[in-house]
Symmetry: C2
Subunit: 306 residues, 2 copies
């Protein structure tokens, strides 16, 4: 199955293959199939998160559309600040919370099905500012191969994202062959809406619990999956807790960190934790813990399938 990871250079490919063969071959390190749980962060781990989170771009486009139809909404200071091109600044200065706040209000009362349709429509239309392609083209080819490779060995792949769970679910099957129920993320509160023959679930203007970053990733994995993963991949300090949880199990485990060091083919940056901006860079943590650091520049023969 070494042929299964063609976009990986030899050294990292061998490390992945060695781990997977070790835990799937009868012996002391064997992990039974139902315990082969693999968890993947999404932004910056499975798809490109630069220059802004895809979901942030979606929010801006949704704000623009709503502002065109709703004068009162368009007159709001926070909405105007974002639409004047200040999204990156708003994210940097006020964090995901401020953006999430606007998102929550923009989509309050929208049914889960309608929200999914709007996300899918955005993916079909919107174009990445630098690469000039649809955002769906900006999934990392080597990571898609890794998902397939793990599946072939009876791993179950879950996405554990700091992004909105419904945003990622709208495309998880088409992009990653990961079903909606295998996506865990930051969630908004929902309520049941009924009239005559309608029984529906609609979004409320508030997050449910904490954003899914840091220790909440551990808690949400335990609540949703009910098992500790044996494989975990991330790219930011916000994934550290999830990787530590994986590494601390009794089973053999592999923790993988994507290092964005390729300004030519993608971006070169250090990805911090949104909810803990001063946290130790994950690459330093990974070096100390002996986790697998994947250099985009040196370890991947190909970044995108295009």
């Amino acid at each position: 199955m070494v042929d299964s990871l063609p976009s990986w250079h030899d050294k990292p490919r061998h490390r992945l293959v060695e781990f997977v063969e070790r835990v799937t071959t009868p012996g002391v390190d064997f992990v039974p199939p139902h315990e082969r749980i693999a968890v993947f962060d999404n932004d910056g781990t499975l798809w490109c998160e630069q220059p802004n989170y895809m979901q942030a771009e979606f929010v801006v486009d949704e704000l623009r559309a709503r502002s065109a139809q709703d004068v009162e909404f368009a007159s709001r200071t926070d909405v105007q600040a974002i639409l004047a091109g200040g999204l990156a600044r708003l994210l940097r200065t006020q964090g995901l919370g401020a953006v999430a706040e606007v998102l929550l209000q923009t989509h309050a009362g929208v049914s889960a099905d309608d929200f999914s349709r709007r996300v899918a429509a955005w993916f079909a239309d919107a174009i990445h500012p630098r690469f000039g392609v649809h955002y769906a083209e900006l999934v990392y080819a080597p990571m898609l191969e890794l998902l397939d490779y793990l599946r072939a060995y009876e791993f179950t792949n879950f996405i554990v994202t700091g992004g909105g769970v419904e945003f990622v679910r709208a495309v998880s099957d088409s992009l990653y062959s990961i079903s909606r129920d295998d996506v865990i993320g930051s969630a908004v509160q929902v309520a049941v809406a009924r009239d005559a023959d309608r029984v529906d679930v609609v979004r409320q203007p508030a997050l449910l619990g904490s954003p899914n970053e840091g220790e909440p990733k551990i808690v949400n994995i335990a609540m949703h999956i009910g098992r500790r993963p044996v494989f975990a991949a991330g790219n930011s300090a916000g994934d550290r807790a999830m990787l530590e949880y994986c590494a601390a199990g009794e089973r053999p485990s592999l923790c993988l960190v994507v290092d964005h060091d390729d300004a030519t083919r993608e971006y070169a940056y250090q990805s911090g934790a949104v909810t803990a901006p001063d946290a130790e860079p994950i690459i330093e943590t990974a070096a100390r813990e002996g986790w697998m650091v994947v250099s985009m520049r040196h370890d991947w023969a190909l970044v995108f399938n295009r």
Copy 2:
């Protein structure tokens, strides 16, 4: 595939087969595989819930074990009331909440893995007071066949139980071939516990949100699965909302209600909602809505595989 449901008499079997063949055959009613979501209540729908919920019996046995080791705990009035044989009365007069309260305190600080092991050990030991067999033998044979039958047609089966999610997860794979992550239930809050090399998830003495009964079943299906089911099975007024949610979708759907009318082979009783004792009996709702009512006495050739 009609042979797949041998414990069902002809009439109900034909209704099930007609539905499944209709939605899996190309045509106007075709439902693609990723939308073939089937949800099952557990207590009284997949396994026997009389004379007490299995989880309640587990709690009593856990209380007894802890009382033998912990004098202070043993001296509590509520613990003594339960151990003196008053569980059924406590459930009836004070509801699941009072029992849950004791359960929560009994297992506070226990790790998710340890809790699972204790549940599995209980299933290996405990004996049902009337049938004299292990509780695992008291799963309904026709429902196991139905789970297999739906799986063969690419449905994904989920358990959506009012019981504790970790209690059911401990045995969902061995009893039903349903993986832990496909179980949704009432949940306790958990916290991350760390020391030296340990990163673990431990139970807290409080429920997370509402018990998973009534409309919370809809909300939790939306949060966890992210799709509306096309097949739903229950047996109590606490399942009504979930069945209505299924029935109100745009896709064809089948809602099934188990009627406990067989005092000889199982029990004859009307199952109410724990959180809404005065709700309309589900059999009356089902009749009005045209849902499929399964008479245990008349529709099942066999109740248990023993």
